[in-house]
Symmetry: D2
Subunit: 347 residues, 4 copies
Amino acid sequence: MERIKTAIVGASGYTGQELLRLLLVHPQVELVAATSRQEAGKPLSAVFPRFRKLPGAELPFIEPDPDAIAATGAQAAFLALPHGVAAEIATALLERGLKVIDLSADFRLSDAAIYEEFYGHAHPAPALLDEAVYGLPEVREDAIKAARLIASPGCYPTSIILPLVPLLKAGLIDPETIVANSLSGVSGAGRKADISLLFVECNESVRAYGIPKHRHLSEIEQELSLAAGEKVTITFIPHLIPVNAGIATTITAKLRGGVDAAKVGEALEAAYSEAPFVRLLGKGGCADTKNVTRTNFIDIGWHHDSRTGRVILTSAEDNLGKGAGSQAVQSFNIIFGLPQTAGLQTA
Amino acid sequence: MERIKTAIVGASGYTGQELLRLLLVHPQVELVAATSRQEAGKPLSAVFPRFRKLPGAELPFIEPDPDAIAATGAQAAFLALPHGVAAEIATALLERGLKVIDLSADFRLSDAAIYEEFYGHAHPAPALLDEAVYGLPEVREDAIKAARLIASPGCYPTSIILPLVPLLKAGLIDPETIVANSLSGVSGAGRKADISLLFVECNESVRAYGIPKHRHLSEIEQELSLAAGEKVTITFIPHLIPVNAGIATTITAKLRGGVDAAKVGEALEAAYSEAPFVRLLGKGGCADTKNVTRTNFIDIGWHHDSRTGRVILTSAEDNLGKGAGSQAVQSFNIIFGLPQTAGLQTA
Amino acid sequence: MERIKTAIVGASGYTGQELLRLLLVHPQVELVAATSRQEAGKPLSAVFPRFRKLPGAELPFIEPDPDAIAATGAQAAFLALPHGVAAEIATALLERGLKVIDLSADFRLSDAAIYEEFYGHAHPAPALLDEAVYGLPEVREDAIKAARLIASPGCYPTSIILPLVPLLKAGLIDPETIVANSLSGVSGAGRKADISLLFVECNESVRAYGIPKHRHLSEIEQELSLAAGEKVTITFIPHLIPVNAGIATTITAKLRGGVDAAKVGEALEAAYSEAPFVRLLGKGGCADTKNVTRTNFIDIGWHHDSRTGRVILTSAEDNLGKGAGSQAVQSFNIIFGLPQTAGLQTA
Amino acid sequence: MERIKTAIVGASGYTGQELLRLLLVHPQVELVAATSRQEAGKPLSAVFPRFRKLPGAELPFIEPDPDAIAATGAQAAFLALPHGVAAEIATALLERGLKVIDLSADFRLSDAAIYEEFYGHAHPAPALLDEAVYGLPEVREDAIKAARLIASPGCYPTSIILPLVPLLKAGLIDPETIVANSLSGVSGAGRKADISLLFVECNESVRAYGIPKHRHLSEIEQELSLAAGEKVTITFIPHLIPVNAGIATTITAKLRGGVDAAKVGEALEAAYSEAPFVRLLGKGGCADTKNVTRTNFIDIGWHHDSRTGRVILTSAEDNLGKGAGSQAVQSFNIIFGLPQTAGLQTA
């Protein structure tokens, strides 16, 4: 089978680097373009010495010009760009016939008004919102198969939505009681020169931030509402912890009156036992980020707190993996008819 | 003023080491005894090279024998022993006229039945429970002044009780909705040879554990119930994060109907503005462990999540400091009529 | 092509875990046995949750019994066992017709007397020493091709030998002036319950250890002497640093009188420009462990200190990768006629 | 005794923060001024929340204006400024009658030509070079007593000079064979927004840098030459390791012909047994940074590598402590006739 010609637009941040890491060795992919304004002209290996002597690592970064990207013959492009910027280039690449997998927030919300509320500016390409598919393969594989434009989910949202969707669909928990605490590695904050992200500032430090209305709440609540069939509003508290990568999320919610706690395990099993990248730890299992870093897995465990009537869900994923890069590749695999696990079956 | 002769019983673990660190240089203390079964005979400096060339560091560890401790003229003893073991030696030292500040769980619960429920064995000295004072200086300074036996609080409980007590006393929040997520440094797990505590197992890892019924819940709920004037049952989820020391706690609870969120800030101010070791970060402040490690401070911030009607409290303390060793010294200072800050005013 | 049936003997330590990580997804390998005395009966995935849902992860650990291993049809076995123990099972597996790649120190030294000097006991299988091949593919690929028994090199030795061999062969440096300082991640100390390896003891700590006569000196000096054509004795100082994995080595040596420093770069280029897993950073390049972790690469840079007449070499590798597991797989690939990069081309 | 009015000029970097930490609680110091161009007007506690509720923490930062500083009545000023900038303000403060303890490199070298060679610009105040005293209390306490201007040593130099001076003075080692490898925590690189200092870039990474001619070589060689009575040129290799603070240095040198290795221990004992902040670990001791962080101690151990005739010295200090802030306070104590340990006796 011929390799699929693929581009990465915005490949010099942490998400771009993760996409490079995955696509340089993906057996069905030929990386034909990687863009970076500030690194244009340099080979990938000069910017990321980790990739030296891998096939393809001498490809030079180019400017993010849609025509230049299309001229490489690319059939698909991953966008790892800031929100606002991504929409514009997505539009241009779709016009040139590429499939677009956008890892920014630009196409994740179906409602342009909510986008404006949470991101502080008008939506840059509202005409595309109807078409964009929120790229959670475990929730809407069929829509992904048929999509031209994937809005790949955020890191926090993935870790919160996947554990909750089966419970909300089955009506097991009271949506008004949902509280999600997430602990994220520092790569989630991006590769930018900022005093607060220095080693000395983050090491031996833990702190909550971005409360009470983190931007990711918008897509979290959109997806939870779809699952629940009613509007869901939750409390979400992200924290920064001194690890490079990984998100651990702990969710609490009250079981609905009369619900047998065992139904929680059954709902999770029914939803995910066949999913190649969701690993259920069962009742009493606690997810640990060290088991998922640099993979596309998300681990989910649960407990019943019978003293308070709450269910406690824990999930762990790599914020750059299932929370960003590898999940986008999973959607790519689905779009191009590859096994979901192509290029992602590593430990 | 003459220095107060003081002993540390069980000085070879992390809490004992923190007590040594504080008491070796406390200006009103003369450390006269430090016990350790396994290190008896060795000078402190041989076991903890960090203390070499400090005054007192050549004191040899002795066996934890009550008569030998009393023979040193010690007026007070700090116990940093496992629960179950502490009660026995506490009894013996009280009989010999020492003030006892116990950092184990043995005297924290006023109800021996709850002790048995959470610790799995009968209480070893139930006759002392009435007399023991739960040593939270910000909550019961007067009782501490008069006490012979202090039950110094646990690390998680301190980080949860202090933020909540003023809110519960004022009736601002619904006790049934309280959820506390705590993130603790690895020293909280003790200095024991255990594969799960190895550097390689903990570094680049985050995980919840001990849910849904961690032992510390018993003292947390006791104190919250006292403050609320009704039985309080909460959900508590501890997590292990890769830092040496520090606990960050995030608490959510629904405001009671009709309560103005500003009352939260007022209640905290009224309770703690004069407290030398509680630092209020105000509305919108997020507590960060890096500001409190190796101090006796606890930082507390809060947010109002108006979308859900919840208040979000964040606190940060050093689990070995305000969560253990230095809080015990704070009680000691109160008992002996010293300023609360004696020996504790460091950054 | 049929997959090569392969066993891992001693698969529950960090090296064993790394071999599992590599071989479970190696495209030309079928893992047919993994042994562990303490975990026998449990599936790999229960001991290492990281491997759940990978193909082969439900294989149960078995006891390290040579007949049982041979009965699986294994054609090759990797031994990740303590020295002394490895020799015995290597002998038994060779008798049963398996190729053996031993990652212990048992077959690394050609002289049983030096083994006894450094390891403190008589060599357990001296008859095999002649046949064993020291498995550094960049130095003796041909011997590896023909070998039944590979002694895969130690982590520190690999990081020291590879940079020095070309310089010694070319007579560029004075062997009497060689000093090697190595900084190793904590996984190099093994997965054992030991207070000194706890997170709290290692984090925020750096220390030299094992001087002046670390066991690895024996194989380092054996290989350097072979390259130099004379007996070489060096000073080697290992350090423990708070990272999970990675070794950074810095070597200094005086250039021989009249040697043009540029010859250093030429010798390295001549030796390694075609080597798939050696990456030369050139003059002025400093190797960084973050570029090699979880790969089989070793990066090598060099400087000329013209003020003192010394050359400074820096190398970086993953102590569990090129320093242990993946280097063993590289030898395996050579023995079985696979490309050296089979199963190892990842970033 | 009245407290000594003291200023810190340039108090918003890591060294300034360490000086604040020490001087805010120094029993003989009254902090009367702290300067920072970018933070002027804000109280110390707003920039460094760690200091809240300490006495003096509400002092506002002021602009670094010599007249304003002098107007506070300050008798002494610590300068934690970049080289080049420090000299100018030092001159102005000396003219206004203050004692100056400069932590920059500006007055460390007695030869302005060497300053220009290593720092790349002409010396900004060569007239003061004769008067400035290189502030190593263990080497020149008497000169410090009488000084108006202290050039407080660099972090790497302290860790290298103190172990070597007694050996060079006694003629025990061959100066031409000295190689020093130092491993430094990230705070040594300063508090500046730089991608290479981000948590994600430094964590799980180790790398050498700044070879072969790091700026600190100039003062190291100046002091070693003074001790040896001849010009000494060494090889020095700094490394960055993922800890917040601490420098571990390993030095190798050949013993001179006929020198009994025991003389090494004797020379160290003779020099430092009475020094309050040098702790000798003896033969076979390896210094560990975890024992010295946040103190003014330097630990020194040594080994004899009889196989090669080398002595191996290991030292550990806090780069911000004995390597910067607390060592400057030690000089301050000497100048003002206080015990060397005043305000520094902590663990």
